[in-house]
């Protein structure tokens, strides 16, 4: 209901927090197969307005990605010719 005020600009359906939608999904810095959905092709962490995560899960995912970067499970950046 409270999202009605955005309807004018918002296209498509409202993004939902996939960790709330699928309880079996766990945020774990050791699992890059989950984390990779939350970074851009350049390796940046996707902002909350795009990822659709609730604040709590966005903080968790941010932390997980930063930890994963430290042990080279995730990239800090990806060199790409643009």
């Amino acid at each position: 209901m409270r999202d009605f005020r955005f309807d004018g600009r918002r296209r498509g359906r409202r993004k939902v927090d996939r960790f709330l939608a699928d309880k079996s999904m766990v945020i774990d810095y050791k699992d890059p197969s989950v984390l990779k959905y939350f970074i851009t092709e350049r390796g940046k962490i996707v902002p909350r307005r795009v990822s659709g995560l609730v604040a709590r899960n966005q903080r968790k995912i941010t932390r997980a990605i930063k930890r994963a970067r430290m042990i080279a499970l995730m990239p800090f950046t990806t060199a790409k010719a643009h």
């Binding site: 851009t40 092709e41 994963a68 042990i71 950046t77 990806t78």
Partner: protein, 138 residues
């Protein structure tokens, strides 16, 4: 008198890809030895095998990943990390505190590998599994 707090930790370290099984065994043995020497308890030890690194470290693109879960008292982690720093074969390490006040039961209660969405064996099944640039989408 200060009370000794038992804490639960997990450790991941990466060994350079050209290291022999013997080199890797020695490092693992050293970690086990320190945990024991500091009266800690080893809960879980996993070998994730050779994985692709997400970025180049010391000109290496791959590395052997090892994973430990253990209960230990103050000073243990410092000693383990001090040792890993000295070993040239070890190119990365990371220790995460899982519980600040662990008990004998909580150490084994919920091994993180079981709480994970997928067992690590499935995640790391493929030798080259790991971060794939093409897969990343916003």
């Amino acid at each position: 008198m200060a009370v000794r707090k038992l804490r639960k930790y997990e450790l991941i370290y990466v060994v350079q890809p050209e290291a022999t099984d013997e080199d890797r065994g020695k490092i693992a043995e050293r970690v086990r030895d320190i945990i024991q020497r500091f009266e800690g308890t080893l809960v879980l030890e996993e070998d994730w095998g050779k994985r692709k690194l997400a970025y180049e470290i010391r000109k290496f693109n791959k590395g052997f990943y090892s994973y430990f879960v253990f209960g230990a008292y103050a000073g243990t982690v410092q000693e383990i990390e001090r040792n890993l720093r000295m070993l040239d074969n070890c190119i990365r390490y990371l220790t995460i505190k899982l519980e600040d006040e662990a008990t004998a039961e909580s150490l084994t209660a919920k091994p993180t590998s079981e709480r994970r969405s997928r067992p690590m064996s499935a995640v790391f099944e493929d030798d080259d599994a790991g971060f794939d640039e093409e897969d990343a989408d916003a």
